[in-house]
Symmetry: C2
Subunit: 656 residues, 2 copies
């Protein structure tokens, strides 16, 4: 039992001594261990390690250790361009997989791109532009092997709705476009900076529950917006709230709906949904939903072309610019108030894009078991959007649906993104004129069938089952998006996420403990109704670090318990409380406010003739208590290793 002497840990595993003491109890030999004072740790080292754990917990520079300068340089370049690393072991069999998956996601992305550009109130070619440059940049700098880069529905909607609040997309087309590029530029800058300064953990503050609600809300909002195309309505509200959209839809019911459009739209929507269902039923047919949109486009375009349906009120795409991305650096606002607007819009959509990309990256990295450096990924995504903003792209990120197809089609590396990019290039150069007769209704159907997967009812049910608070956060974000706007929904999601954190740190659990019969163990009496209180002693356990945010609550709560207890004992003529034992095992840390509260608690107890006793303070806590002189204040002999030791010491001394 040589460990008893330096057994100052307290860190919740004081089992040796507990075992020892409980054995001794059974022999009726009272032996009480003391909590030792630990040696002072090296403070500089402590701070360095704390900084390291916060920003560099994944030790990103570990490969650079003990290397020559040339090697370091090579490793450095490889770190920025991972393609130089994995490219060396690239081979034909990998290329086969990448080629097939690249072609598959290309056939999926082209129709989606055109539709998503409309969501962002931009001309269709901008969607295609954004599927050409950003995937190329990502392929060189990114380290996820499965992510498929390009425009996505939620970010397009968010961007479109925020830009629309500043400029009219039709009447102020040029300003609108310029602000879009400005926002894209700053989205990239935001992502780059977060990654570069290793602040990537900030996106963790949007909780999973909030994202589920936000995504589902966005999916419904996007689908509702598609009613315009699907029903062939010409006059449509600009707001995204469900109330004004439905009002718009029904106002147009009498003369604004176009039955030819509805027939085309709804029949292809049915086709797409069936394809989706087949792909879901049997994973082998994952390619069915992947190529269904392209087939729909071809068939419907042919149909319109042959029957000239556009003359019967079926709205068509009419025109897509031919040729690759024109430069757009000069269109970015680098001064004036549009800079500020662009920055605000860019930062928000950049963060949302990041959240989506990070979730995808993590999911597939876990499936194939490779490590992703989240911060490095952010730098790659940021660079890609900065370059994109200069080549007429709007905010691109990883797409959930296309990444899943990419994975299932057997991609091996980011080369599949390069393949997709090449196909988009050919499309832009050669076949954009063919999209002229594509009906808008088909694009609407494609978008609806794409975003419908974002509504994850199972996840919502699970949230309800597992954690009510998470469910509230989810519903808050969901209802905020569909009834108000995407921004409001986002705000609610962030606010609820923060409220949860604040609640966690302000109101820790504090339990009253009782002695479990025939043992020396003290447990929560609410959980163990058979546990009995020791007469004259109140034992409480604090289940959290004691910081300024909860220290007052802790003190007040404990005093309140003591008052209630004393009142109860008075009524039943029982012995007054003489000792208050605070079980500190779960208290991982304490700050000066916490120590102050303990001192206040001690003073209040003194007035009531109650002794304050601490059991099992952890090493960090014990350290700080000693530095503050608190043990001298209450008496070193009032600090015990276990509750059992404390009770054993004081129970016999009790006044009758």
């Amino acid at each position: 039992m040589s460990h008893r002497v330096n057994d100052y840990s307290g860190e919740m595993d004081t089992d040796i001594s507990r075992v020892a003491s409980s054995r001794r109890h059974s022999d009726n030999l009272p032996y009480v261990h003391k909590v030792g004072v630990p040696p002072k740790p090296n403070l500089l080292k402590e701070i360095t390690e704390s900084v390291k754990e916060t920003f560099f917990h994944d030790d990103p520079l570990r490969h650079f250790k003990d290397q020559s300068k040339t090697k370091k340089l090579r490793l450095g370049i490889q770190a920025v361009f991972p393609i130089l690393d994995w490219g060396r072991s690239y081979n034909l069999s990998k290329f086969k997989g990448d080629l097939i998956s690249g072609l598959t996601i290309a056939s999926l992305c082209i129709p989606q791109d055109i539709g998503y550009a409309k969501l962002a109130n931009l001309d269709p070619q901008y969607g295609l532009y954004s599927s050409f440059v950003p995937p190329l940049v990502y392929a060189f700098m990114g380290s996820s092997r499965d992510i498929a880069i390009g425009p996505v529905a939620v970010v397009s909607l968010l961007l479109g709705s925020m830009l629309q609040a500043e400029f009219d997309p039709v009447k102020q087309k040029l300003e609108y476009q310029r602000l879009a590029f400005t926002a894209t530029f700053f989205a990239g800058i935001t992502q780059f900076i977060l990654g570069f300064f290793r602040l990537g953990f900030l996106i963790d503050f949007l909780s999973h529950a909030a994202i589920v609600g936000f995504m589902a809300g966005a999916a419904i909002t996007i689908s509702l917006q598609q009613l315009k195309g699907l029903l062939g309505i010409k006059k449509f509200t600009k707001e995204t709230g469900i109330v004004s959209v439905m009002r718009s839809v029904f106002a147009a019911a009498h003369h604004g709906w176009n039955w030819q459009t509805i027939v085309i739209g709804v029949s292809f929507l049915a086709f797409l949904l069936v394809a989706k269902f087949i792909g879901k039923k049997n994973k082998k047919y994952f390619w069915v939903p992947a190529i269904a949109p392209m087939i729909s486009i071809i068939l419907s375009t042919l149909f319109v072309f042959i029957f000239h349906a556009e003359k019967h009120g079926v709205q068509i795409v009419r025109h897509i610019d031919r040729g690759i991305n024109p430069p757009s650096l000069k269109q970015i606002y680098f001064s004036g108030e549009n800079l500020t607007k662009g920055f605000k819009i860019g930062a928000i959509s950049g963060l949302i894009a990041l959240t989506e990309a990070a979730a995808i990256g993590r999911t597939f990295a876990a499936l194939k078991d490779y490590q992703l450096d989240g911060n490095k990924e952010m730098v790659a995504l940021g660079t890609m959007n900065i370059v994109g903003s200069m080549t007429s792209c709007y905010v691109a990120t990883g797409s959930f649906s296309r990444s899943a197809v990419n994975y299932m089609a057997g991609c091996h590396t980011a080369v599949s993104n390069i393949i997709m990019s090449c196909v988009v290039l050919l499309t832009l150069e050669l076949i954009t004129p063919l999209f002229k007769y594509t009906p808008n209704a088909i694009l609407a159907s494609i978008i609806i069938s794409a975003v419908i997967g974002l509504i994850d009812i199972d996840a919502m049910k699970l949230l309800y089952k597992i954690d009510k608070f998470d469910f509230v956060a989810c519903m808050g974000a969901f209802l905020g998006v569909i009834f108000e706007s995407v921004e409001i929904g986002l705000l609610i999601a962030v606010a609820i996420s923060f409220a949860k954190i604040l609640l966690q740190v302000t109101r820790p659990r504090i339990a009253v403990l009782g002695k479990v019969p025939r043992t020396t163990v003290y447990r929560n009496i609410q959980q163990y109704p058979e546990a009995t209180r020791v007469p004259g002693i109140l034992i409480v356990r604090v289940d959290s670090a004691i910081y300024f945010s909860n220290s007052n609550y802790m003190r007040d709560r404990i005093l309140r318990w003591l008052t209630d207890e004393d009142e109860m004992l008075k009524e039943t003529n029982q012995q007054k409380i003489q000792y208050l034992i605070v079980e500190m095992s779960p208290v991982t840390d304490i700050d000066t406010s916490g120590i102050h509260s303990l001192e206040d608690l001690f003073k209040s107890l003194q007035k009531r003739d109650v002794q304050l006793v601490l059991a099992n303070p952890g090493p960090l806590v014990n350290d700080k208590l000693h530095a503050s002189g608190f043990p001298d204040m209450i008496g070193e002999d009032k600090i015990f290793l276990t509750v059992a030791d404390a009770v054993m010491t004081f129970a016999p001394k009790m006044e009758p």
Copy 2:
């Protein structure tokens, strides 16, 4: 051992079974307990209790239970006006104490009030007004017995500096005053609302450390401002930063300093400081520093009057309006942009005032051991400022220095505030003209000697000794106030306080555990270097609730450890890790993001052929894990009550 069956608690005190199992180990009888599935708790009840703990943990309505309607009404009125409660047992002996202390704090508050009004850039009478109405209101509604109400230095400075940014206090005097009343009105509204909706805990988010720094910085800033009066400088900067103030002071050195003023100011400052020192040395002479300011005023006023020093450049008060508070309801801005400005300024200064009052209330309540309902106090303070704003008062709150004098002079109830208020009334009605010849230098000396006590160097030293992070927060607030402005300092204080909370919830400690020799106990190997790892098993402990804010970190950190460990084992040709045991004892709660991370962790481990094992999940955690189906995923037989049990089960099964 009947408790073994429902021993699903895990809540860090699984001692019975540990004792039991370790005993069995010594008998070489492998007996492994399982973590049981707890019965579902009543969810509605759970939510109700959680709301109750958050907002009503002090059970404010407990006296109303089981009472008749008339009694309830009477108790309700008493709850709003505690004077009706304690007033009934008021007697002559209590009045004696209150009279003496009331007269003492009156003699202290009158000179301070005049000075503090100048800090807020208001005419001297407004300080006196604020010591007349608010204390009266508080006496009826407040429940602290020791607090002395009136204007205080820090709030005056803060208010003055924020108001000055909107209107010039000399050229736009009327607008400035109107905005001051508007701000006071909204300070009251803010305080009232926080209290009424029981959101008082929000002020706990300003940490003790940040307040120490903020107060010290404010004291230095205030003292520097007094150099104007003390040195008789006429042209003085409007900024509060130390750099511009010192530049102002030295720019005036050649012709702007007035030696007569300096002689008067410095000699009385010395007198006041000596008085303060005497009071500090011997608590019996607490009244010496309490009446010293009044004596200084009388002596210096006489001196100026007799020698006509004002003709030698000594600046004097010149004029104080005679008579009690004029009504000011009509001066409050209830519309326009001044309403917004007033609201912003009022909310900030109201919160700071609240922080100060709450700290005072708590301190003295602890000294005399009575309970204060913080939220009810806020309602009282809020009402007092609302009424104050309609009677020409500016923001009043509890003063540290005067409350201490009140306490030491032997006050018993808030009647001492009424006495003070009456003395101020008489002053306003009768003797304000006598202040005409009071030199400004004396007011400066009084303010300096009053605020100097706010610089708590011992507390700063203690912060440095106990908690480096708290010290950084303190210094940040301190330097922010003295180099920039009060608002910036406040902002820094709040930001650092929040950063600490965020750090706490994003980066919990995760420790690798090893087996302490000759025991079945597993502890942090950094703390116990003699603890040995079990070959093929990695044991980690997570020291926090697992929430969305830290779940990704937790998963990544654990995987990183596994990778490092495996690399190390590979180099030394040792057995590969086959089991990862996560000790969950300190995990008090988990949310859906946390469960997702555990699932991701499980999937990653599967790819590496490592088994995931959980030890000792707490009741809440176990609940949620079962609701999510996680135990089915990893296998019910992978969840153990203790780490020792898990190791005992798997160690023999290990492949060589």
